[in-house]
Symmetry: C3
Subunit: 344 residues, 3 copies
């Protein structure tokens, strides 16, 4: 278990520390489960009521919460407590996680003609094919696969069991979680009398810097040109990105979403979980899609867009759904009534 | 192929056997495809009509179906024929499947400081990191990965290619299918002027006893505290469980469902396939969610809840969907009509 | 980089070449990003406007577009330009991709009693269990797993990291992408006072010829009989196919779809992305399901079927959704109005 004093934490994060700098902190905790040796945080004024009752040894708060925090014990006051919390988790993780040693595990298979930087770490049973390049400080977990001519940037980390196929590229400081598949074939066939004829997918996948990709997420290679994921994009788990999609910088996509081929998503969008986008659409910068919505047309203006059937108890839903099946006739009946009552 | 006599089966399952105990059974079959050397079962009176025409050598039935079953041939009468069938499949599987030998395959990599019980079986190319513990009679299929400090309980079986990350724990008699990823990072970032800052995920995943997890399903580690899956939970394939979710005992989740972070689901719920739950919700015990529904608010009462757009032929759907887009104006028009016709 | 002359391409594809047969082509490109050394194609008259402005060295077109294509430069005229393009990608891929050498990689584990054809290629760290059969010219990428008694047909290719479990079978010329899991247990339990009792899944998965299965897609083994995927079926990524499903020949299923157990889908259907099908349904041949639809009943007639809540800006959606929650009372109000105004 890690340990740090409040003083060390304050020195790392900056901000004003009110309280005993020698207090030993052994955990970062949410307000509700915090103990006197925990440091916690309050980022949303909505949860202010949890502050007074928390057992936390210290709470990171914004200036507006300074007094309320000090009233209950030690406090670290920073302009953006959630950002402070994020930085604290990074510092904590660096202190507590096992150090990954540089070098290629003896069981790994690095084909001749592949280039692995000296400071990179290649885990057991990894396969790196010829022509691939692994950057400085990159980490490939156990059972990863990097195909012919693919490249992995500096300090990019692959969890165990990532498939990164031939001719795909990722920049620096990326994080790919287990089960990710980059560069499987896009879904493309031409009809013929003898059945579907496969369109070989000749493009690749180009991923920028600071991209994170969640477990079991798939990004298909382009048919001719590349599928493109720009800098700072964050993809959650179990997402499907079709061929020739482009996702703009700093867009976040939540879990279980699917984006069909050749759709272009702008930058700084938030695509809700389990939402889907048809192919060949264009989505503007700054669009927010509510989870579970089906995007069936291009969206040209920033804003929030939704399309979810509201959940209800089953009996009510059944009655409403039955009426919905005949909604256009209901509209016709209203029209008829309007006509009837508008008479002289 | 396995073989057993009716008498052996009856001795194993209990119940009343009407028919020749020396009859040789070589298969368990559905009523429709059964042959005279099959044993079949009828658990739902709804399918009673299939009984008379079945070629099965013997049929497992409940007391109410005793006469109908005997009228056509041999029968095994038990209070709960579906449960009897389930137990029969277990007996059959134990008879027919290759025995998994205890021991660590020579190609597996067990780091110093990992503890593998003597009766456990560790398959080829498995990686077990230091500090991990593998219980008695546990089975890890080929290409599995168990991270630092993780623990796998007694008689828990991992199919080939399961990722079980550092600091995650599972109890006894669990079954994890291929492609499962336990303990990938939850999806958490803090906004900053320079782009999203990763919140390192410092919690783990704690899984109880008798839990089954389907192929390619993902359970993320908690941000600070653990993600928790209680005893007897059954998860189907391709499910996403976000960080700090808690799933209550004996709840079943069908395939392709997604549960966003910090949601708490009660015990003995049934969460329908491809349904989604937003984050930070609370779902009571005994809730049933219809497949394809989006749960956007907490549910405090047991019962069945639904929210699916009814499927229809495309032309009808288009007309209804077009009207739905202006549903609130239709309501306003009805209001206006009501006002108009309520006058003196 | 590959290179071919227009003459070589025309000789391979057939059709009428108008233009210089010695022109060197180094890429196949979409019309928009084509350069003078690209060959491109126009398959849909809708995109005709892109033709004139394209920089492509040559364009594959149908007879109707002959004049328009010739007006701008070289053209290859074929009856079905999209099919011609598909065949060209295959020819190009064969020219440019590394040749996969026959033979078993020394790091692979082939158990005694497994049969691997001499012309098959088995990659590093592959595991093939006893009783399995790998056909001529089959390719198993790195980290693949083939279980006891499974069989892989002639010229079928597994990308790295495919799990193909015991007792499953696939025909010839199949393509399975990374992360695919064939033959995990179907989701079946019988209730008992002590909790759910697992129904061991004793069936297998039978897959026909010319089947393609996308990344991280799962097909569960049957409970008693087999799950069946007929010839020519194409499955995209992240699809869930439950136990005892049958998918008819030449049906295509788009990404993120889910099909629950025991549903039978006809042949030449198109099942839209992220759509779901409940279990025990029957879907006729030639049915098209719009992406995102929930199929909750059997469909007996070919045609297109839809069920999606239309997406809208959030404010409009909220108003419509709120009205939808009381839709049946709106209908009752219309009825009351009709009664009132129908009087004498």
């Amino acid at each position: 278990m890690a340990e740090a004093t409040l003083g060390e934490i304050a020195a790392h994060l900056g901000g004003e520390l009110i309280g005993d700098p020698t207090l030993r902190i052994t955990r970062i905790s949410p307000l509700e489960s915090a103990t006197p040796s925990s440091i916690s945080f309050l980022s949303n004024v909505k949860y202010q009521s949890r502050l007074a009752s928390s057992q936390a040894g210290c709470v990171i708060v914004g200036p507006a919460m300074r007094e309320a925090a000090v009233a209950r014990g030690a406090a670290l006051v920073t302009p953006d407590p959630y950002l402070g919390f994020a930085r604290l988790t990074q510092w904590w993780a660096a202190k507590t996680r096992p150090i990954v040693a540089a070098g290629v595990h003896p069981s790994a298979l690095v084909e001749p003609g592949a280039l692995v930087a000296a400071s990179a770490s290649v885990g057991p049973f990894v396969v790196i094919e010829s022509g691939a390049t692994i950057g400085e400080e990159a980490v490939l977990g156990a059972h990863c696969f990097v195909g012919h001519g693919a490249s992995v940037g500096r300090a990019t980390r692959f969890a165990p069991r990532v498939t990164f196929s031939h001719g795909c590229h990722i920049g620096d400081r990326g994080v790919l979680h287990s089960g990710v598949v980059i560069g499987a074939d896009g879904f493309g066939f031409a009809a013929s009398p003898g059945g579907a004829v496969k369109i070989e997918q000749l493009g690749g996948v180009r991923i920028g810097h600071d991209v994170e990709i969640g477990a079991n997420t798939c990004i298909d290679r382009g048919a001719l040109d590349d599928t493109v994921i720009e800098d700072g994009v964050k993809l959650d788990n179990l997402i499907q990105i079709g061929h020739n999609v482009r996702i703009g910088a700093h867009t976040a996509v939540q879990g279980c979403a699917g984006v069909a081929g050749s759709t272009t998503i702008g930058s700084r969008c938030i695509i809700g979980g389990a939402s889907i986008m048809l192919g060949h659409l264009t989505i503007a910068d700054g669009v927010i899609i509510t989870p579970g919505s089906a995007v069936t047309r291009s969206i040209r203006q920033p804003g929030t867009y939704s399309g979810i059937f509201p959940i209800d108890d089953n009996a009510s839903w059944e009655k409403n759904a039955a009426t919905l099946r005949n909604l256009h006739t209901l509209r016709d009946r209203v029209r008829a009534l309007e006509k009837k009552t508008s008479g002289p």
